[in-house]
Amino acid sequence: MSVFVEVDQVDKVFTLPGGGEYIALKGIDLKIKQGEFISLIGHSGCGKSTLLNIVAGLDQATRGGIVLEGREISKPGPDRMVVFQNYSLLPWKTVRENIALAVDSALHHQPKGDRRGIVEQHIDLVGLRHAANKYPHELSGGMKQRVAIARALSIRPKVLLLDEPFGALDALTRGNLQEQLMRICQEGNVTAIMVTHDVDEALLLSDRVVMLTNGPQARIGQILEVSIPRPRDRMEVVKHHRYYALRNEIIYFLNQQKRSKTKFTPAAAVARHGLEKVNLNLGFIPLTDCAPLVVAQEMGFFKEYGLEQVTLSREPSWASVSEGIRDDRLDGAIMVAGMPLAMTLGVGGKPVLPMITAMVVSRNGNAITLSNKTKAAGVRTLADFKAFIDSNSGKEVLGVVHPASMQNLLLRYWLAAGDIDPDRDVEIAVIPPPQMVSTLKAGSIDGYCVGEPWNSWAVQEELGFVIATDLELWMAHPEKVLGVREDWVLKYPETHLALVKALMNACEYCDDFRNRPAILELLARPEYVGAPVEYMRPGFIDPYDRGLGQTASALRFNQFYVDRTNCPGRGEALWTLTQLARWNLAPFPKNWVEVLERVRRLDLFSEAARSVGWPDIEPPLAPFALFDGITFDPNDPLGYLEKLAIKRPFSIEEIPLQ
């Protein structure tokens, strides 16, 4: 659907009495479709009400503007009716008169009888028939707000603007009103923008939650798509498998903002040994394949290269890794392979942030686990799963760890190869890896694609079985990479080189199977993965157990060094770009050659490889195929996309990289 309301590069600057300036909003850009419900959320004073007032026309943007149905807005009007925070009912008018004032002035071209009818209809809509002749001071807070909503809806605004509409109400009234508002908006296909600071309210009501960073210079920090199906029910919505992941994401964002509010400043760089910065904060997610990072720390590889003060930060989710990098809390991180590319493209409503991957840290290591329900139904192959889905009325829900993760892309590829549309026939939910097993156990999801130990954990606790490992899907696909910001590398080039070299040595160490039992002892510590050793052994040391009675040797299940594991090849990255476009997670970059050159820094890899005495040649940019045999030719990525039957419509765009 086309854009209905557009907030176009809005800045708001207040002139201070002292002659200074306060930049409240900076570069707010937002496109809203008709019938969409948008929430603006952020800490107090972040300018969300100011933004709402600008849309209402009660306040003027200093730069940029608002476009409604293709026409620029310059002043307030009844097409953008506001439900004010403190109701703003006229105290000298009864409920009926308050609504009638709005109807009579906004719909004055309609005959009087019709206007009366509209007033009465809206009194009934919010259930205030018994109070129609009462004055506002005779009403409770909830009733006043219902009058305000009725007044706003009665004049059929194109956009309904709500400024913390339920903030002053008690929990019970608020819940009832939220449901009423939701029903009314849905029945009338009302486009609405709501300012709130209540996370649950935002999730219940919104199609998208727009999170604003703290002022001054507040901007849109993140936009979260709330894909919980409608109609929603207040009690049911919290049981949705995505609810807590979404809620966590918003709360995480708000906490990050609070932290930056208390003047969070990254530690000052400590320079030593010819390195610009030896105090590094590196992020990771508790997974077996974070081993090289743990080894580099514990076995002294970082120190060997002069990185004396490295802190490893165990992150709750991939989203928090990406935010940590974005706001400079983390110097670098072990990331899922697609993440540096996705951040560079600006996926997920975030600004473009050029990232660098100078080495791949691990290959393989994932599996697809399905629940006991499917196991009991006899599902053993992809074809079985397809038949199971076709015979099943409900939609199966599968978990992945991040939109740009190989888990998401491979799971989708696998499903699509089996003629299962990952968006239509099943539902894919983003859930942080450590929460996968408990979510499966709770029954909110029916399976997932994730790294170890979370598959073996489910198998050994008899919660599910592994239907496929990525060894079968795409042998030696890039899994985890080292991701750092491009501007960080420009600032600390020697440090980056030392970091890459230390991790290279650690990777080599990890692929010596004699070291692996000791490595698992390290990983089992609570500050790293914190999982029992026996859940991490399959694939890492032992043959892999799928939970179907037999085990199979899986020598390459976790590949850290052998077979040029660490070379950040461009072909595989290009494949990732095609898949991000295939599922419309990102536009396909017209300047893909430039994007790959910028992100996958072979030159930096070669420099490090040479200095540790490794071969530095990139494997030839040759065509390859995944398990289904469809050839990917790195010279013709769009031709490859053509060949794939199930895909979403996607756009091809030039990605502006500074």
């Binding site: 009660l58 000298w92 506002p136």
Partner: protein
Amino acid sequence: MAQSSSRSKPSVNPLLSKFLEQLRKVGLSAAAILIFLILWQLFCMSPTATLPGPIQVLEDTWELIIDPFFDNGGTDVGLFWQILASLKRVAIGFSLSTIVGILVGMIIGSNRLIYDAIDPIFQVLRTVPPLAWLPISLAAFQDSQPSAIFVIFITAIWPIIINTAVGVQQVPQDYRNVALVLQLPQWKYFTEILFPATIPYIFTGLRIGVGLSWLAIVAAEMLIGGVGIGFFIWDAWNSSLISEIILALIYVGIVGLLLDRSVELIGNFFLKGQQK
């Protein structure tokens, strides 16, 4: 004890407890009046007293009290007619100042430029004592009747103007926003929002104004003569009828109180639905 028990069970009989509360108040003020009268009587018992005691006053003015409606022509009329004549002047002067004051207040309240220009002048003029206006109005009108009315007018108008202007300025931004969003035409904004929102302020101004006009009329009538409670007091002084002066003072006080309360009542009627 009784009080604390009634407070602990306010729901037993609210009407009864309200009645008792009223009774208590009336009783208390009656007692206070009684004590005051006794003290007054005691102070005036001494032979050197220059003022009559309450009993003396009652004896001297009994005829005036029991027959307020007599009319012997000229200025020799009953107290009812005297007060009525004063009230007539106040009614005319105060009505004029109400109309002019609200209009002027609305205009200067809604225009910052005019307000900033005129406000200092008003601040000076409003401190001029009512009687100081009398000579200039006598000079202007050449007649005592319109001069008295003008003094009432000029005395009452300042609080009305200033309160109205402040009221207009204090219309909450929320109400203005409602008008802006609904795109109310100018006249509708005035009748539906500006005027109703200003009413509490206007009535505050009117109450101060009516009190001031009653103060001014008594003083003005002393100077211009004719029928009126002010001249009645002056006449009594000239005839050394101190008791009559005291009676007149009590009447003036009561009428002033009634005026104040009636304006308040009218205000409450207009403020229906609004929380005070």
